[in-house]
């Protein structure tokens, strides 16, 4: 273990991972930074020229950009709220001994393993479709006028789909945290005269606090990049009503072929993600020490 010859071997064993990730991080990112200062369109090769901050200015003055930022925040915030609140409730429920616990758990966790394009299409065509969808039939059965979810409330609908996908993740992590709470602590609290509600507030939730933070941070990282769900349901529309930052950059790059503009948008997305990442990395780093 602690003998000397092992250290150089260790360095050699780490080298491939470190080098690959270093390349993966530095090469494309510096290219993005470089492109973001160019006037560069894929359809007009050879006409690249230095543009200064034009791309950023263009992006930052585009009303679509602010809508995209707003949509991103609403999507992230809404899904976080729904999954954390729902996740706590489901975790508490699943932690109770009950009949068929195994089956119930599979069903609750399953959506996480459904690929995003499939879940988005199933929601779009089988649940939210204004003519054939289940929700529409249900509404008609109850005597209401069915609504066209994806055209009238596109962002809410997408949030709903994404929340459905991420609820299992939150549930699973919170359940794991809940199961690590020692039964003795709960019993001690009971002996001290705490009722179920008090135990939730003073014992269970504080115990889960770290897991909740982890859920929030990790989901945020992934939710900032929601893409497939938007692509197959609304294409960002109507207009830009359901366009988030990721989708906006995608449109700029691969639909309008504006490399410079898309790169500027990409850099803005990187900066936003980094703000979250700093907190997450710190927290996990602290965790490494114990």
């Amino acid at each position: 273990m602690a003998t000397t010859h092992t250290h150089s071997a260790a360095r050699l064993m780490m080298a491939p991972s470190v080098i690959l990730l270093l390349l993966w991080m530095i090469v494309p990112l510096s290219m993005t930074v470089y492109f973001s200062f160019l006037r560069y369109n894929l359809l007009m090769p050879g006409t690249e020229s230095f543009a200064g901050f034009m791309n950023y200015r263009f992006f930052l003055t585009d009303p679509a950009f602010f809508q995209a930022i707003g949509n991103t925040l609403i999507l992230v915030g809404g899904v976080l709220f729904a999954t954390v609140a729902g996740g706590i409730a489901l975790a508490l429920l699943l932690n109770q001994p009950m009949f068929g616990q195994g089956i119930v758990r599979i069903l609750v966790i399953a959506p996480f393993f459904v690929m995003p394009t499939v879940s988005a299409l199933v929601w779009k065509n089988m649940l939210m479709n204004p003519v054939n969808g289940l929700f529409a039939s249900l509404a008609r059965f109850l005597g209401f006028q069915p609504i066209d979810f994806l055209s009238s409330i596109p962002l809410t609908s997408i949030s709903l789909i994404v929340a459905w996908q991420w609820l299992p993740f939150a549930t699973l992590i919170l359940l794991t945290a809940l199961q690590s709470l020692s039964e003795e602590q709960n019993e001690a609290a009971e002996m001290d005269g705490a009722n179920a509600w008090n135990r939730l507030i003073y014992i269970i939730l504080p115990h889960m606090a770290r897991a909740i933070t982890v859920v929030v941070l990790i989901e945020t990282i992934f939710l900032l990049s929601v893409f497939a769900e938007i692509l197959v349901t609304t294409n960002g529309g109507p207009g830009t009503e359901s366009t988030n930052l990721t989708y906006l950059v995608y449109m700029q790059a691969l639909l309008q072929f504006d490399v410079g503009g898309a790169s500027a948008g990409g850099i803005i997305a990187v900066i936003l993600a980094n703000i979250v990442a700093i907190f997450l990395v710190r927290m996990i780093g602290k965790n490494l020490e114990d």
């Binding site: 273990m1 602690a2 003998t3 000397t4």
Partner: protein, 332 residues
Amino acid sequence: MGSIRLENVSKHFGEHAVIPSIDLEINDGEFVVFVGPSGCGKSTLLRLIAGLEDVTGGRILIDGDDATAKPPAKRGLAMVFQSYALYPHMSVRSNIGFPLKMANLDKAEIDRKVNDAAAILNLTDYLERKPRALSGGQRQRVAIGRAIVRSPECFLFDEPLSNLDAALRVNMRLEISELHQQLGATSIYVTHDQVEAMTMADKIVVLRAGNIEQVGSPLELYRSPANLFVAGFIGSPKMNFIDGKAAEEFGAHTIGIRPEHVALSTESGKWMGKVAVSEHLGSDTFLHVDVPELGHITTRTDGEFPVRHGDTVFISPDPERLYRFNADGLAA
């Protein structure tokens, strides 16, 4: 056979000298116990002998051969780890047989030796089980079995009993001592528990901060500790230390009185004090007495001594068995 000699052995971790320099002679067939408080370097010293750590300086001779640069397996030693370090995916049989398999013995030979070891250790009925299906004491025996099948020159034990409960610990202590009598191989045993050291050792090595404080048989250490540290470490309950005027009376900077070396009386004696706590064990009575000027004195008497909290008692030290120390803490 199994003699081990450390010459000027030192170990540094970076700038930090865990073991500044140690010389030690261990004779063939001896049961040697390294004892000391945690962080004294006793485990490090054992690991240096095992070859699990490289020495920074000095030589380790096993049977007169320089083994300093030999890999662990080539030193003819076997080790029992604190956590037992059993291979969780192997049966008890495979665990015990593993060192033999590594030595490329044939199957029949391995089986024979494993069965012998299992018989000695009462593990015959458990040979096909996995370690997780065993109790703590059984796991401990498997770890010992893995060590004895190799018929090593020397056994190394790294705090092997610290994960067992008190009753089991006493049992295993006896079993290890018995095994040592039976096998006759040199054993080095690391512990922080002076009771284990006193009961098992032929020779005790008391360590503090990487230095040897004293080497000797259990009774030598008990009767003539070289300094305050050894005096306070060996013996239970701990020796009482008194300095100041009361010590000068006996011509020393500090005097040490073992709890069992005092005469107690409820009527008269040298020092008067009040009982703070009395512990009645039936066979013995421990009194914790507050003596004005001297502080807290612990005493031990055979049988019953009927006093309670708040009672007045008189304590008289046995002048024949009083330990005197000079200002440097050395026995005078």
